[in-house]
Amino acid sequence: MDVSAQLEAQKSKYKSINVEKQVPLQFDLGLLAGFDVNALEENKLKVETDNYLKSYTRDGTQLLINEIFRLPLTSVQDVGVVAELPKIVTAIPREKPLPKPKPPTRWERFAKLKGIKKNKKSRLIYDERRGEWVPRWGYKGTNDDGANEWLNEARHRRNIEEVEIDASQQLNSAQPQLKSKVNAKVLKKTELRRQITMAKTSTASLGKFDKPVKGEPSNTKGAKRKFESNLGDIQKEKEARLSILNKIIDKKGEILNVRKAIAKNNQQN
């Protein structure tokens, strides 16, 4: 098949890809730019401005594209032929001026003066006892106050005897002698409450049937409220309610209004 004729016809539609210039163009392909220093033809510019400028632009573009095609070309899937652009050669000036160095803050000046350096603590530290790197804090860390130890020495809790001795000393001395920073008044109150609860529950029935003292808050520690079932036994519920009602009515006193009865009786007679 000879298609050369059609090819010729096609080719003749377009101008030649070779362009003649007096001074060859400078190219910076990283910027996709070409720099043309040739002089423009004055008379053409004046007479047929549009056409001249159009053809001039076309020539420059053609030269640029020629140059691009001289680069190493690769074929990429779904995109086509791709050229790798070289690095930018032209020095482009800054958009904004260089930032001025900020004056050191009050802390920075102080730190510099004292020679304080910032020490960033690492998350993991080597725990000698466990013999491995564990987090400094958090899950399975070394910071847990001995919560998971199998044995802890009693460090914080004060013995009851010490507290009592302190309390009695306070009564005698002007200045309360405290062993630690604990408030003596609060300590005495809490200890007293503890003692009260212990005394209350040290009866045979654990203080359940003692007469409640008026105004004393009942200790409901650990007591879970229990309610009857919603659709329980009808008869039982009715009987319970009736018994409560009867107790109330009996307490209220006379149902019979004696005066009224006498008056009525007198009326009838």
Partner: protein
């Protein structure tokens, strides 16, 4: 929703007996169908057996009200009787009080009852007794607590308070949001 505990029942019945005395029996022991008192969201509801069985299947957050609301327990476990209980209280009232038409308006706005408004009153009403208040045409209007006994009321001036206002049917409009 749950049945009332013993302490709660005691407080509740004491309040009721103040108004209807031993007729509370008729509320508990009914001939037609068993009615229960149930507690839901600190409010006491009087509900029939059949309705209770249906209400049980409604979730706690979804259940707004059931049966008749008699009143509610306050935060300090005192019981406050609401006007919605009026129907039952009026049926079984022990002590009644009738007010004149000129006093109706005042009472329905939440004011106490003065001697000038007093129409009739049951005999031998003691002091601080719960009474049901009716209009002269025997329509129950609300309830209150007597300020003085019958004997002393006779000696009072017309502007003296005879009965303290506890609840009136005007509350259906005033206290819409909190009644049920």
């Amino acid at each position: 929703m749950r049945p009332l505990t013993e302490d709660e029942t005691k407080v509740f019945f004491e309040k009721l007996t103040k108004y209807i005395g031993n007729n509370v029996l008729h509320l508990i022991d009914r001939s037609d169908e068993t009615y229960y008192f149930r507690l839901h969201n600190d409010k006491v509801y009087y509900v029939s057996d059949s309705m209770l069985r249906q209400a049980v299947s409604i979730g706690r957050d979804q259940l707004a009200s059931l049966g008749v609301c008699f009143g509610k327990f306050t935060k300090s476990k005192k019981f406050k009787l609401h006007i919605t209980a009026l129907d039952y209280l009026a049926q079984y009232a022990k002590y009644k009080l009738w007010i004149k038409p000129n006093g109706e308006g005042s009472f329905l706005y939440g004011n106490h009852i003065l001697k000038a408004h007093l129409g009739r009153i049951t005999e031998d009403t003691p002091e601080h007794q719960g009474v049901i208040i009716y209009s002269m045409s025997d329509i129950p209007l609300g309830f209150g607590v007597t300020a003085r006994s019958m004997v002393e009321i006779r000696k009072l001036k017309p502007t003296d308070i005879v009965t303290f206002h506890q609840a009136d049917i005007g509350e259906y409009l005033r206290e819409q949001d909190t009644l049920f």
